[in-house]
Symmetry: C2
Subunit: 297 residues, 2 copies
């Protein structure tokens, strides 16, 4: 069996010397015409995705496909997402499936099998899950992750503008998201690797850096998935605010960037595939470098 997901992730971050995670968000209207018409033809999404992976694997250890943007293309979109998960893994990347699933026990088992179980599901390395329905709805994901050395990433504090509507409601002096962290934290030991980090991870939005530090105290072992860096407005320094000192500088999770590395202006203006590849490589190198600097400053 593979090493625990947490160890594979932190080893990847240390080897690449950056916590960059490339988010794969296929917006049909932003994919350059070089790849064909993505609105009409899912093979364009497949071509775009494989081209992104070929560059991403040089700069980042993790790919995060955004499943909602594949599902809009029906079962062909689902199939394309699955092929890209498999391709990224064959190229040495870890894959976090950004699916944000959550349901009662027996259905959660189905989602766990679909996302981090074997074929005919995605067989991804980790999956994002929504805690609103309660701890018992997360349990089937943790159980499967334990059995297959995978990871489970709980939405604790998200990065979107309305994140606070419910997550920030005050419960006895602390916000709801902190109670989520407290209820999940005791389970972290079950997915802990030899590194000491746990693959029972937390989403800790980069747009709220002070809260990431509070969340680090509440979940000291949990690796973080940090969204919100780049297009959503958070700086590299904000993004790593929940990280702690490790062997190569600060560490403690991965920081996702999607639009800024998939659709940079220079790539959108590219006249050839070579120009496009250069522009994407530049954008990913810049993000990887900026995050590397933030971890070592």
């Amino acid at each position: 069996m593979s090493a625990p997901f947490a160890d594979r992730l932190i080893e990847g971050v240390r080897t690449k010397n950056t916590p960059l995670c490339v988010g794969l968000d296929p917006f049909a209207d932003k994919i350059p015409a070089l790849f064909g018409n993505a609105s009409d033809d899912t093979s364009s999404i497949l071509k775009f995705g494989t081209a992104i992976i070929d560059i991403a694997r040089q700069h980042a250890c993790v790919l995060k496909p955004q499943l909602g943007l594949f599902e809009q293309f029906g079962e062909m979109g689902y199939a394309v997402a699955r092929m890209l998960v498999s391709y990224a893994q064959s190229e040495g990347m870890l894959v976090i499936l950004d699916a944000k699933r959550g349901d009662i026990g027996t259905t959660a088992e189905g989602y766990a099998r679909a996302t981090i179980g074997g074929v005919p599901g995605f067989n991804a390395d980790a999956v994002t899950v929504n805690p609103y329905m309660g701890k018992d709805t997360i349990e089937p994901f943790i159980t499967r992750a334990e059995a297959e050395a995978k990871g489970v990433i709980v939405l604790v504090r998200t990065s979107n503008p309305g994140a606070g509507d419910f997550q920030d409601l005050q419960v006895g002096g602390a916000p709801v998201w902190r109670r989520v962290a407290e209820i999940i934290a005791p389970e972290c030991a079950r997915l802990r690797g030899a590194s000491g980090w746990s693959g029972l991870m937390a989403v800790a939005g980069a747009t709220y850096p002070e809260e990431a530090r509070v969340l680090r105290d509440a979940m000291p072992e949990a690796l973080f998935l940090v969204p919100g860096y780049g297009a959503q407005g958070a700086s590299a320094g904000d993004a790593v605010s929940g990280f702690v000192q490790g062997p190569n500088g600060r560490e403690g999770g991965v920081v996702s960037s999607s639009r800024a590395v998939l659709y940079p202006q220079a790539a959108q203006a590219a006249k050839s595939m070579a120009e496009w590849r250069a522009a994407i490589g530049d954008a990913m190198a810049a993000a990887a470098g900026e995050l590397r600097a933030a971890c070592t400053s």
Copy 2:
């Protein structure tokens, strides 16, 4: 364009004279061998689903496929679910896709398109959504529902054992789920039909009947989707506790039953397709009748 979803739903409930909604939860290990080996062959799920729909349409106006139990079969499971949605609609049923999606704005638009948009997505009549990420993550579903006369069903108070872990946390004297209801309620007018009911619906777990009455006060126009009746232990009386007086008795939503009507003991023991059909018909008639009685008592 179709009539508003709320009007189509309440008209269906009045015509069938029961709020029964048949949940379509394909558990591979429970589907009788009469349909082939569902663990190995998704065509067994398709056969089972079409046979269920042929009986369900006689007893209920709504079908609720549980997407997580299809996704575990990969893109073929997704395709089978989509065929069953379309088949149920062609047989005159409304379809609530139980997908429990939720994500930030642009991804939520993708999920809305995938679930209640047109082909190649599911083109279902309504979809369940998770509110944890905030009101802005539900907005894209409401916008699409407005444009296409569809419905959006927000998980407010679920029926599972751990539902209270976060939903019941007390915020200034009221539970989190009540705050969810308060934040969603003002949007109900956007999906209100001529009947006065709104297709911006709430999940109101039958296992908590007193809370359904409180939720009715907080969201007077919202139709309810009530899970938990039958296998999860709630009575028919509990299930309709959030309903109010209508032209044919109490009304105000639909009550879902899955395992009790899909896998009754008599059907599991059936030796022929005719015996199986009779057993399923009996179970659905019993559930429909019990709920009818609860609405008129």
